[in-house]
Amino acid sequence: MKARTRAATLLLTPFFVLFTAVMVVPIGYAVWLSLFTEKQSGLGFGGTETVFTGLDNYTAALGDRAFLEGFGVLLGYCLLYIPLLLAGALGLALLLDSALARARRFFQLALFLPHAVPGIIAALIWVYLYTPQLSPVVQAMDAGGIGFDFFSPEGTLPSVVNIALWEWLGYNMVIFYAALQAIDRSVIEAATVDGAGAWRIAFAIKVPLVKASLAMVGLFTIIGSLQLFTEPLILNKGTGSAVTSTWTPNMYAYTAAFDRNDYGLAAAASVLLALTAALLSFAVTRLTGRRKAGTARQAAPARKAATARQEQPA
């Protein structure tokens, strides 16, 4: 028995040492930093000193319109992006899962492929596709009489949402499709015998059975959305777009740290962002009332069943 305890300790130690160093300690350090402010002493010739200022950084961040507007942008982004992503990915998965779909493997792979593209490159490609001088899309739209400026104040949010959709639609479609494939086919056969049509089967039987996957994807999408940074950063850099350098809270924190060297304010903004993520995760988990996480043993047979189904020739 002692040998087993020793082995367990040895196998777990590398992960937890690194986990502590890379996640736990930085969180603690961020909270600590957020309580201090660097102050110029005297006329600014004497260098700076770090002064404990309590919650001043938090009130400064929360009192800054730019920071609050960042949360407003995030809210707008989530309201547009999350329903489109969930509906789009689920819709595609249902299409693929219907008895009528052909070439399922090809569709899965082709729809997933954008996810292999690094986020920064996805953003670069799309920004080029938004730029009138470079883009066949904008030129085609102009020719068709649709003048849309992707960089205008009204255009930037849809521009960013489109990039994110392109990156994540296929990924989440594969998740939903796998969950749909794991549904016991006899349930669907029974419904067919009872005379239910394809639409009814999709919405009255299949969708309720994959609610757990919907909740999980929703949760991870919210956490990901709060971190929005790369795509708007590319839109911000010199494209003359309406994206400012503090457009999202994450960009605000980055700008505070590296343009203004105000680490206390940046830390406070990061902590507020992480708290928002924690609160939302809690709320989503509660609302969807999922069973308690952590029972890997229960999940394993279901997963095996799902992969076994998936590997059958389409």
């Binding site: 196998l11 729809l111 997933f112 593209v117 940046a266």
Partner: protein, 283 residues
């Protein structure tokens, strides 16, 4: 019967037609990247994606290789190092932990595992700034370590590994090895790890992609161009492109080359990423 057949044919066309439309949306930007990489700056700015105006793929590639003493391929090698080495070590660390969670019983195990799951939910970009400040305290900012150490940790990898161990390692196999007199670590190394290899490859694939795509961490940590991964290098070039359009072909051709290894990996390892996504979705 005669009314059902055309109806079915119509539905079939509608279903597959919708899927084809989605595929066009997904693949169009990649096709554009492919054709754009063959053009010189003039051809690019002419905007006609599907003509071969200003065809100069060879020129683009050789300019890419020559610019700034071939710094692009230096970035490429860095990306391979960060992603390859980082993902390899990360998978080993994750599988070891996942295996321990699956095989052994100890006090507070589920609480500890709960902590791992909590780690999955931490927004990583909120950690980047404190990580940078910590790294500058201990003097590793602007070194390979600054990017390599943080990518060794992936709580989701530990979760996946536990699920895979539960699915692939029967207790009997471990018992048999123990009866044969193998020590616990030997059982892990030569039985457990071998049996859970598909899980190892899955975690590796996901982490390799994540590190290859990593942008925020290197942006914060690195200022020496020689240490940049491809993502950060292309970002730096793109920042110049607005002033100097000659950078456009460099950025586009460089982007195309940076996408290739991932596309190849995903096409050839389909079984693994599907298994990984499925395991994640049934949490």
């Amino acid at each position: 019967m005669s009314t059902r057949t055309p109806n079915r044919w119509l539905s079939k066309t509608a279903v597959n037609g919708a899927l084809v439309l989605a595929v066009v949306y997904m693949l169009f930007p990649l096709v554009w990247l492919l054709t754009a990489a063959t053009k010189d700056a003039g051809g690019l700015l002419a905007g006609n994606a599907f003509s071969f105006e200003g065809f100069d793929l060879g020129g683009n590639l050789s300019r890419l290789a020559e610019y700034n003493d071939g710094i692009y391929f230096h970035w490429y090698a860095n990306s391979l190092l960060y992603a390859g080495l980082g993902a390899l070590a990360c998978s080993l660390i994750s599988v070891a932990a996942g295996y321990a969670f699956h095989v052994y019983d100890f006090r507070g195990k589920e609480k500890l595992f709960g902590l791992v799951l909590l780690g999955v939910l931490v927004p990583t970009t909120a950690l980047a700034l404190p990580m940078y400040l910590l790294a500058s305290e201990i003097g590793v900012v602007n070194t390979y370590w600054a990017v390599l150490i943080p990518v060794l940790v992936n709580p989701f990898g530990v979760y996946l590994s536990r699920v895979f161990c539960a699915g692939y390692i029967p207790d009997e196999a471990l018992e048999a090895a123990r009866i044969d007199g193998a020590g616990e670590l030997r059982v892990f190394w030569s039985i457990g790890l071998r049996m859970v290899m598909p899980g190892f490859v899955t975690v590796f694939l996901f982490q390799f992609t994540a590190v290859w795509n990593n942008f925020f961490l290197p942006l914060v940590m690195l200022s020496d161009q020689k240490l940049f991964p491809v993502s950060l290098g292309l970002y730096a070039w793109n920042s110049n492109a607005h002033a100097e359009p000659d950078f456009y072909p460099l950025v586009v051709t460089g982007s195309l080359l940076a996408v290739v290894p991932l596309v190849v990996a995903f096409v050839s390892l389909q079984r693994h990423w599907k298994a990984g996504l499925t395991a994640g979705s049934l949490k």
